[in-house]
């Protein structure tokens, strides 16, 4: 399968995996963000994923993917996931093996033009982000394409922008850490047992147990993010998905009720699904 199609399937499997505490999944909708918005978002992202698979640069491919993703009524569904998937698809298409070092080479070769396209992507959709550090204020992504002159004046590549977004954004952290957790998630998916959607749920919980979700931290504060991770860790250690599914279902419902959505953890799960499918270490 072409890597753009594999990426689309990864997005679909990610949202279908259940229970994924706090997020839309096969069994849960949020109030204005429902399962079908993620299905339409995945189909809409096709054009940009195809560009990356055909060898287009990362920035414009990402912008196109987000533009298509946003053509549904739910708003932002898969912005962070696409920010991981686009460079992974770009790497897989090279014909080289999809390795951490090959992916690093792709993100390190991004340009100022890629960064400008990344900023333009914010014109298409509302993405929740926290306040930037004072010296990055002119480059606040919420400015969208209005920030491009400042970006060009500082000659920042998309890799540089990601580098300046760490800490506080664990999607950006993947870019500067060689997609460490994405590849780890793929390994865990391969090692897990059962159908792919159960594996996806299990790996989501393991990722949530590992580090506080940065989207939760930005929205609700670090304390809440740490609380969620501590509770996920307790559940993960007890292997609840195998032994006490009601406990994790209850945790999932509670987070949805509280409006706590670990979106970054979902993004990493999607990236892990793509890598595992591409390596053929999991099957559907």
């Amino acid at each position: 399968m072409r890597p753009d199609r594999t990426a689309e399937l990864a997005l679909l499997l990610e949202v279908a995996g259940t229970p994924k505490p706090g997020n839309v999944d096969r069994n849960r909708d949020l109030k204005d963000l429902r399962f079908e918005h993620f299905l339409a978002g995945a189909v809409g992202a096709r054009g940009g994923l195809e560009m990356a698979a055909d060898g287009a640069p990362v920035g414009p491919s990402f912008q196109r993917a987000v533009e298509g993703m946003a053509e549904q009524e739910g708003g932002n569904t898969q912005f962070g996931a696409l920010l991981l998937l686009v460079p992974l698809v770009r790497t897989a298409r090279v014909g080289d093996d999809l390795t951490r070092s090959a992916t690093e080479a792709v993100v390190e070769s991004t340009t100022v033009a890629d960064a400008a396209a990344f900023y333009r992507a914010f014109d298409h959709v509302d993405v929740f982000v926290g306040d930037p550090p004072a010296d990055m204020e002119p480059l606040d992504v919420r400015r969208g394409s209005d920030a491009i002159p400042a970006l060009e004046a500082r000659e920042l590549t998309l890799y540089d922008v990601m580098d300046r977004s760490v800490p506080g954004d664990d999607v950006a952290r993947e870019w500067v850490r060689g997609f460490e957790r994405s590849f780890a998630a793929a390994d865990r998916l391969a090692a897990a047992e059962g159908p792919i959607l159960e594996r996806a749920a299990s790996v989501f919980l393991s990722l949530l147990a590992e580090r506080p979700d940065t989207l939760v931290a930005a929205r609700h504060g670090e304390d809440v993010a740490v609380e969620v991770t501590d509770r996920a860790a307790t559940l993960h250690e007890r292997d609840v998905l195998a032994d006490d599914r009601p406990a994790v279902e209850a945790f999932a419902d509670e987070l949805v009720d509280r409006g706590i959505n670990p979106g970054t953890t979902a993004d990493l799960t999607a990236a892990g699904l793509f890598i595992a499918l591409e390596h053929e270490t999991v099957e559907v």
Copy 2:
């Protein structure tokens, strides 16, 4: 959105609609045929749907779509739905309005080569079909490409093959009745209320209530198919999806337990979703 993408989204929304009594849906798997197989089937069908959107003939586009659909472990997921969607996509791409008469013109112009490609599609996947009439035995679709010489000797087009498959196959019936029920399903989707997945479930029940499902009849006999339709009609008249959801959920579970899967009704639902999305009378 290009019609091939709309068709893929229709396949995804169809399987996600719930409850769809007897079939895989957002809340139900069968033993060896699970939700994720339909997700992968929809992504796999992309190549053939793209061919149809680019103007390729119906038969080869269908063959390619089925070949891609079959690249997952669940077996046949969307064969019948694709047999409706491919000519609809081919019609929508012409730039004409997607009307019943335009779709009729597309299916009536199919050739012997389209029929040969249709038979080749059976080489890729096991599709459940009943025994053909005695004079059609050399053209039993279960022969796959081995039947092509007999097909060519009789100079049958794909439209002719569909014509000879009625009665007993309500997908074929759509071909010779100007996609009557597919367009009716689209009208009902537009007239229904609520999110798209609830509309899909409602229209599925209305279709099941209307005529015995031909896949159920082929597998379990006409009596069972009639019983299922009578019960669906009773539920549909009571507007259970609005007023007594547990009743329809119980019916859905019972059919799954009995192994009764109204697949033809699901195919018609997918076709209706495509038409309604293409006409922009429903939104996601």
